[in-house]
């Protein structure tokens, strides 16, 4: 290894979280050997997969300086939609139709209101958070629907494909596609541009409204997929599923270095950020710490990460001259 370390301000934003993740792993492996058992590791992966899928969709919206608070509710809505269709058609068709419907309905509503009519994403998705949770309760009368998920759906949410956990495959494929889309397509460039400077993007001829619409459609599709995975994991669809999950997902995305003000961030960061939160929660459970503490720890970590990012930026910005031109 070369002795010359890169300047820490030039490292990607997620490197701090990655370091913490590694340290946590080492610490846990030493103090609680069961932590690194195959069973527990696959447990971490399985429990992280769904929030990571939501986080990937969320990253698109936050990159455009928006947010999608509806993902937790939409996850439940998707599961219930699936439970209603599963007996009427082949399972693979039910999966495809569910995800397509969720994408169309939720993405259509959020995307049109935010992208076409320019409404505030926080308000719009807070509305759909309530609406789709409410619909899920209404059609099930508040009861959990037991489903025989079958091998395909189970593989997506919980099972193995060969030696590899199915959810891990889903995450890898989805992350790979998203990394490619954001890095190497015109749409990806437009996403960063809209979040970085909407006026400049618009002036350069980017259809900023369409870009915004598309990111909410993508986020809805991810939430639809996550809902199917959740059914595979639990063999049931509950109207309470994913309640409050949106905040954990946002926390993970921000931990991964995506900036709430838009224009800066990455899928890699999101995967690491969400995974880290899951590892923390798993570690605390193994250490026998009350789950109430986990929420407190998440909050503290989020604050620390954002503070850390600010310090990093202050250090890397050249001279104070930037502030001067106000």
């Amino acid at each position: 290894m070369s002795l010359k370390l890169p300047r820490w301000s030039s490292l990607p934003a997620w490197s701090g979280v990655l370091l913490l993740e590694v340290l946590l792993f080492i610490f846990m492996a030493i103090s609680q050997p069961e932590f690194v058992s195959a069973g527990n590791l696959s447990n971490i992966v399985r429990s992280a997969a769904i929030p990571i899928v939501l986080g990937i969709g969320m990253t698109y919206t936050i990159l455009t300086a928006g947010i999608d608070l509806s993902v937790g509710s939409v996850l439940a809505f998707s599961g219930i939609l699936l439970s209603g269709m599963i007996d009427h058609m082949p399972r693979y068709a039910a999966v495809v139709v569910t995800i397509a419907l969720v994408t169309l309905i939720v993405g259509g509503i959020n995307g049109t209101l935010i992208g076409r009519f320019g409404l505030n994403s926080f308000v719009v998705t807070l509305g759909s958070l309530g609406i789709f949770r409410g619909i899920s309760y209404l059609v099930t009368n508040g009861t959990t629907q037991n489903i025989d998920a079958g091998p395909l759906i189970r593989a997506l949410g919980d099972g193995n494909v060969g030696p590899v956990p199915g959810p891990l495959l889903v995450v890898i494929v989805l992350a790979a596609i998203s990394i490619f889309v954001l890095r190497s397509t015109f749409f990806g460039r437009d996403v960063y541009a809209v979040g970085g400077n909407e006026f400049a993007a618009q002036l350069a001829g980017i259809y900023t409204g369409r870009v915004k619409m598309n990111v909410y459609v993508i986020s809805a599709a991810c939430a639809g997929l996550a809902g199917v995975m959740q059914v595979g994991r639990l063999d049931s669809a509950a109207p309470t599923a994913g309640a409050g999950l949106e905040l954990a997902v946002v926390a993970g995305v921000l931990l991964g270095g995506t900036r709430l003000s838009g224009g800066v961030g990455s899928i890699t960061g999101t995967v690491i950020g969400v995974l880290f939160l899951q590892t923390v929660s798993n570690s605390l459970t193994i250490q026998g710490v009350s789950s109430y503490w986990q929420q407190i720890v998440t909050g503290v970590l989020l604050g620390a990460a954002v503070l850390f990012d600010r310090i990093r930026l202050e250090l890397s910005s050249r001279a104070p001259s930037r502030k001067d031109k106000e």
Binding site: Y192, G196, A200, L203, A204, G205, G263
Partner: protein, 504 residues
Amino acid sequence: MALATMTARIEMRGISKQFDAVKALSNVDLTLYPGEVHTIAGENGSGKSTLLKILAGVIQPNEGLIRIDGTSHVLTSVRGAMGLGVTMVSQELSLVPNLGIAENVFLGHNQTRDFIGINWKDTEKRAAELLKRLNLTVNPKQLVSTIPQHQQQLVEIARALSFDTRVLLLDEPTSSLDPAEVKSLFNVIRQLRDDGVAVVLISHRMSEMLEISDRFTVLRDGKLIDTGVKGDVSEAWLIDRMVLNKPKKISDSTYSIENKRAVLEVKGLSDRLGAFNNISFNLHAGEIVGVAGLAGAGRTELVETIVGSRPRISGEVLIDGVVVKANSRSSINAGIALVPDDRRTKSTIHEMSVRENLLLAQHQLPFSFRSKSKEAKIVNAWCERFKIKAADIDTPIKSLSGGNQQKVVIARCLQTNPKVLVLDEATRGIDLGAKAEIYEILRGLAKEGLGILAVSSEISEIFEISDRVLVMHAGKLAADMGREEMTEANVVAAATGSNKKGDQ
């Protein structure tokens, strides 16, 4: 006044300030005495505003010393400067429009409190007293957004007075006022002066400066040129020092519109928010047309509307005789592109690389792939052609100097193969070397047949590059003059609305 025997309230010595590559001030001195009105004169970019901002604690100098009442101070914040009695009313109003007048006057300080919270009755009473001192009779409960702009300015001054202000800095306070309002503002200023306040003014209007000021300091290119007192100073004295040794270079191009087609036609364009009204003009292939006018004349709004990024209420824009739909993408496709006036907020995407910024106006189907090697070839070619100094094309644009950033933005526009290039304050915040390069680029483009429309607040810049000048005043086209009519006097007269000739 026997100034020499008085104690100075403010002594600024050897002030220097560097912005990136631009030296805004070098070794400037300024002395202010109690009870004087002091004008700082100079052209755009001479460093006047920077000097005032340093005194107000908005920005910090790189070198220099500030003494207030004989004690030297380091002013690190606006609040700190206010605590020492120095308050600035800047050109852009900084009131909160959705709060009441009294609330604004005492915002964040000095409200009368009682055991419940703010005692509004007393706060309003005190605000009314301050406003009365400024001859402003309005209800202090009224929202700031409901009173006209010149009254808002007085509210700002009232706010300044609500601190124990002994030095009041006014940056172009008259730019949006009509003559009657200017008169009443000057009465207020005289009254403050008689109360022992040192008032510092920046103004572009000669007659106003001469009328109100006791002393003058002239800056040019960030340097102190001269100081003078009332009586010794005349309009000629000021102009002599402001533009000394710098005869206005008039474009030496031999361009003639004969036999040239009108590449851009603007017909009866009116802004939805009323910033300009019924503007019509033509621009020919290969022609450079400058757009002059005072701040607030509607120039930026006009050019942003021409390229479709701002809503219009009526009128149309034609490129080569074809009507262009009012949105940015259609404009780009039709062959007209804008270099906006403010890089930070309107043109560069700060966190993105030079490559991304330069190719921002290139579009294909959303999910089509980008060829990084083809892109690199294009970007490198522009960097070479425009001598853009960047470590490599994937460095963030924010690490470039202002001039290089601007060249990237110009390249972005040109990469769309425009027929018309519109530039708004193309050389704002750019050092002299890069400025000259940009002029050279523009002339070259015009020779290739591009029509160029260039908004600028610097008359010297307009004269240097333009074949023709449009002058805007209060949202209207006040004059359209060819090279033979182009004199500073004509342009200034049209921009201030004092000439009635040349109306279309």
